[in-house]
């Protein structure tokens, strides 16, 4: 399913919310109007009813005078509109007084119009009712029923008034509300999308701004420029930081590829130049042999470099802690030292492995083998030929084991120390070229150590020599 756009979501949300508000306001206005209209009718009824009760309470009045008073209160039924009145004693079939609704049958007034629940004595209750007056037309009425005690008898007073005008006015008001509500709804539906677009403007601006970013301009992008709204600022700041990190990573990658190209091209250039120079003229067998040997040496160097690059790529590719198994580190070190012993002896030097207890680490055996081989290779290459390389395995600190490969050389200048793990970094470029170093050995070693949640450091001092210290987490 296609995701619904924020604009549509917001438009719908705002529109629905506005509609709900319009609806509530309309209903409230309708109810309020109805109540106020009814209360004005009720007020008239109450005044009329109270006047009748007051008349009933007047003592010493003849029944005829009372009838006249009632009539005066109710007004002329023929000209006074739609008011009507009934007064009767509780239990009596005969009315004390009645007026209005000349066409209405008495029984209907008595039985049909009265609500089921009568009010308490001394109380009054309002009710609405409808009565069929003429031509079977229903007519709304509002009535007040009062019961009061007069001379130990309960007198019922029923006063009614037409509430036709209330219904009529309400119907008009209802139409008015309908028209206003509909027009407001229409306006809202038309205006909200524009308002939402305006509100989302900064996001649109940012997105069009982001579209102009290419991999070439990553680092120089300033997306937090002037026109951003404060809400987007944190997001843009984070984005800018991410861009600069990305740029740095891409630069490093680009630099690495350039370095790889350089490192691969150089031996190829040497081989090509050797062969082309040889071909310039006829040479003696000895010269040919010499040139072929040189070419083979260069090819070996190239081979070694490719090997190193591949292993770097391989160890970078290993996901954290995958393929890690239990490795017995002391045995592994013994094995590697054994492999390098012959070469050390040939040089006139030696390798010493300190006594170590059985130590297990969690790791990749091939990786660890490569790590320590690289360190021993460096120690033999850069230490004095007849010197001693010492390999020690110790516990600590904090749940780690420490392997130190120490040689008696100490020619790494302090300013070069921070760079020894950089790819293709060589302390002395021309010297290492001659000895076949690719400048990748330590970079690979550190990559492996880090994949094992460990680390590697190098210290160098002309007097005590150079130490490569590897920390690995103990199992």
């Amino acid at each position: 399913m296609k995701p619904v756009s924020i604009k549509l979501r917001l438009s719908l949300l705002v529109s629905l919310l506005t509609l709900a508000i319009i609806l509530v306001v309309c209903i409230a206005a309708y109810v309020e109007t109805e109540e106020s209209l009814l209360s004005s009718v009720d007020g008239t009824l109450r005044v009329t009813g109270e006047a009748i009760i007051a008349t009933l309470r007047e003592e010493g009045e003849s029944p005829e005078a009372r009838q006249a008073d009632f009539r005066a209160i109710m007004g002329d039924p023929n000209s006074g509109g739609l008011g009507w009145c009934r007064i009767w004693l509780e239990g009596s079939e005969k009315d004390l007084f009645s007026s209005g609704l000349p066409h209405y049958p008495r029984r209907a007034l008595w039985f049909e119009l009265l609500p089921k629940e009568r009010p308490e004595v001394g109380q009054a209750s309002f009710f609405s009712t409808t009565a069929v007056i003429d031509q079977n037309k229903e007519h709304p009425f509002r009535a007040l029923w009062m019961r009061s005690v007069q001379e130990h008898q309960v007198v019922n007073v029923l006063v009614g008034r037409s509430s036709y005008h209330v219904g009529h006015e309400l119907a008009e008001f209802y139409q008015f509300l309908l028209i206003i509500g509909a027009s407001l709804t229409l306006i809202v539906f038309l205006a909200v999308p524009f308002l939402v677009s305006w509100g989302l403007g900064p996001i649109a601006w940012v997105s069009s701004r982001l579209q102009t970013i290419t991999h070439k301009s990553l680092g120089q992008e300033v997306v937090t420029a002037t026109q951003t709204v404060p809400e987007l600022r944190p997001f843009l700041v984070a984005l800018e930081e991410m861009l600069s990190r990305l740029d740095k990573a891409m630069r490093q990658q680009g630099q690495f590829i350039a370095d790889v190209a350089h490192e691969l091209r150089t031996p190829v250039a040497v081989i090509k130049s050797t062969l082309q120079t040889t071909r310039l003229q006829c040479r003696t067998t000895g010269e040919y042999e010499h040139d072929i040997d040189e070419t083979l040496e260069d090819i070996e160097r190239l081979e070694h470099l490719i090997e190193q690059l591949l292993s770097l790529a391989r160890f970078e590719g290993i996901a954290e802690s995958s393929r890690l198994g239990k490795v017995r580190l002391d045995a592994l070190l013994g094995d590697i030292v054994g492999m390098f012993e012959a070469r050390a002896t040939q040089q006139g030097g030696r390798i010493m492995l300190s006594e170590a207890t059985c130590t297990w680490v969690r790791g990749d055996e091939i990786g660890l083998r490569q790590l320590f081989s690289n360190l021993l290779e460096n120690a033999l290459q850069h230490g004095p030929a007849t010197g001693t390389v010492r390999v020690t395995l110790e516990d600590g600190p904090d749940e780690k084991v420490t392997v130190t490969v120490h040689d008696e050389g100490g020619q790494i200048p302090p300013e070069a120390l921070p760079h020894v793990f950089d790819r293709f970094f060589r302390v002395d470029s021309s010297r290492s070229h001659a000895s076949g170093g690719s400048g990748l050995g330590l970079a690979i070693a550190r990559e492996i150590a880090r994949k094992h949640d460990g680390d590697i450091t190098i210290t160098s001092d002309p007097e005590t020599g150079t130490s490569a210290i590897v920390h690995l987490p103990r199992l």
């Binding site: 190209a261 250039a269 090509k272 130049s273 310039l280 470029s429 070229h433």
Partner: protein, 226 residues
Amino acid sequence: MRILIVEDEIRLARNVAKALEETTSFAVDISADGEDGQHQALSNPYDLIILDLMLPKVGGLDILKRLRRDGSRVPVLILTARDTTGDVIKGLNTGSDDYLTKPFDMGELIARCQALIRRHYDRPDPVLKVGELSVDTASRMVTLKDRPVSLPAMEYRLLEYLVLRAGQIVTKEEIVEHLYDFHAEKFSNVVEVYVSALRKKLDPGPPHRLIHTVRGQGYLVGDMPE
């Protein structure tokens, strides 16, 4: 012609030097690091410098900047493994005359070197002509009145230099500086020996001389300026 190769890949530098010496008449010096290369480039009047960019101690571009800042007009050819367009532009804009990426073709490198030197001496035609003498710098063929003349290497080297600078007075010191590499034994009287050998083979004799001796100053090939 005397050229300098600044290149830390010693074997490559030796190969280029060998190829240049075998196919051209250049005297070639090699410098294996930036510091030494800069010193050599500043202290000797080279006719061409082949410069690597990634050098120990002092970078190739820094050497080039220093040379140009000091007003050196020596042609510089950058020979490097850095091959992006940006690198090429940067190299040329720093003041190099040409840019060649590794791995390169030896023949192309030699041809470019020769072209750069011809331009430097304002001689676009690879065949140099003075009177009835013609020197083809590409094939090292010397002809006099359309007859080929065979010359030993050092004599050809001297002749090429003198003919390139035809019409100008060339001092003995200049000849020594331009014809011998750093390791050669330099005796200025050797120049006189070679000049007289060339005269024997090429000079038609008075009144039309090919190589004039300007007393107290040096030699001049071609017509004496009035």
